[in-house]
Subunit: 272 residues, 2 copies
DNA sequence: ATTATTTTATCGCGATGCGCTAATTTCTAT
DNA sequence: ATAGAAATTAGCGCATCGCGATAAAATAAT
């Protein structure tokens, strides 16, 4: 088979992903390796044979064998006995599902999202901030949906999404800028705002308005208007947004039609 | 704090969940423990402090400490510095999301599900079989939705779901019965079919008809009609179903109105 | 204040799992 | 077909990693 190395200098004796273990005696490296194996699979590599697991994760063949085997025994991987290729099983949904079902935040937001969805007949999302991404944690598709690409668990860069800007707008300025600085800023469409200063301006504007918009910043033809949801300390713990097809609304219409509704919804879910 | 032991005799020195390691030198027990910790969280225990992690997972405090710490470092748990309580993060959605995005099966089914959803204006689901459960892997909610309880990753017992019976109906008889025998059969509503023989009859009927129905077998007021999707070998690799509120349809209407449509859709997705 | 719990930190020992090696199976090419 | 290459499966001895007991510190309860 062809080599498909995934970077990783392949030197350095034991795993130690950038001095992880180094000074942290409580870190169990086997767990990290297990997740490295699981994360090797995805859109890019839906199935992998053993040597591919090794090369994609940067582990030696023995470790790849041990961890693939272990994960198979635990039910998170399945191995086709014919092709000897591994793939993820539906059981991988389990932990994320526990997160969804256990989240008081998502639970609290649910009725408001439903209401917003019926009221507007448009797609409604709940997202949270995670490092430099937003993650979709709840979603109600409208009848005239676009974008079946986005699904629970999908990520988007903070800086080119309405919810991302909305959440940044309620963080202390320095924290918001620190997050932007950790992003690798790059255009995803011709319309992406990706320069540091322009983004800072968008964040300031969102702070003033109470909501943020994003038009074709990540997906072409896609518009979004979002407002931040605050926790009991006044920090953003998520955002709610309405996503529409720009073939049905102009950017101005999106703002005029939905801004007060999205602000009111976010406020209702907030606990500040 | 109050004791909340989760069964587990608490005897037996090392983890060894039912002779896992025993004769399997390739099994890495640390991975099992990590998942035991993650699985401790959920609807029942949305947050846990360290000693609760220990008691729920049946591990000693040191192990609980090590694995909670490790999972926090990896980003799958978050620890509230004030309350010292752990909770799952949105990152736990990652692996399941990779499964969804990498699945050729789900991808292939998507356009047919969308079409079925628009055609019927009802809720449409794609499910797969996993041990004695079905797992929801794709879902399109109708405008008059019921049941926001079900979500991607949700499980239901095979024996009280339309998709479950539908899939069993295309397995060899002995395999199907073996699965039923592994279930702990019990009524979930007054209408649940849960006796072994009655279930065998339902499976036979589904095999003859090409589709299966379930009315209030698990959720009250909920009706479902399902058909099995076959892989290239003729084995069921999933099922498609339409879920409706019984306030809007009688059981007879469900069958007469949707049976041919659900069969045709399942057939179109099949690769036999 | 005193006691009881829980969390955090430390550490020596031994089982665990690492990674080298070899046997076996599967694939490719001639 | 046959040989050769590549990948998978299996075995094993040694070093290391992580186990689990313990103690110190922090927090909660009485």
């Amino acid at each position: 088979m062809t080599t498909l190395d995934a970077g990783r200098p392949s030197s350095r004796k034991r795993g130690a992903t950038a001095a992880e273990k180094a000074d942290d005696p409580l870190m169990v490296m086997s767990v990290d390796k297990a997740f490295r194996v699981l994360s090797a699979f995805g859109r890019q590599y839906p199935t992998l044979n053993l040597s591919q697991v090794a090369s994609v994760t940067g582990m030696d063949i023995s470790s790849a064998q041990r961890f693939s085997h272990t994960l198979t025994r635990l039910g998170y991987l399945r191995k086709d006995p014919e092709t000897k290729r591994f793939e993820l099983t539906a059981k991988t949904l389990e932990v994320g599902h526990h997160f969804i079902r256990g989240s008081r935040f998502i639970d609290r937001a649910l009725p408001y999202l439903l209401h917003l969805s019926k009221e507007t007949e448009e797609t409604v999302n709940l997202t949270v901030l995670e490092d430099t991404s937003i993650i979709f944690v709840s979603r109600f598709l409208s009848r005239h949906m676009l974008n079946t690409d986005v699904v629970i668990g999908s990520r988007m860069p903070v800086y080119c999404s309405g919810p991302g800007i909305a959440m940044l707008s309620r963080l202390p300025e320095d924290e918001a800028m620190a997050i932007l600085d950790r992003c690798d800023l790059e255009p995803h469409t011709p319309a992406t705002t990706w320069q540091r200063e322009a983004l800072a301006a968008k964040v300031r504007q969102a702070r003033a308005q109470g909501y943020a918009t994003a038009f074709e910043e990540f997906y072409l033809g896609d518009g979004s208007i979002a407002a931040p949801i605050l926790d009991h300390r006044g920090r953003p713990e998520g955002a709610v947004n309405i996503a529409v097809s720009l073939s049905r609304y102009s950017p101005e219409e999106v703002a005029s039609r939905f801004s007060s509704l999205i602000i009111a919804t976010a406020h209702a879910i907030s606990r500040v």
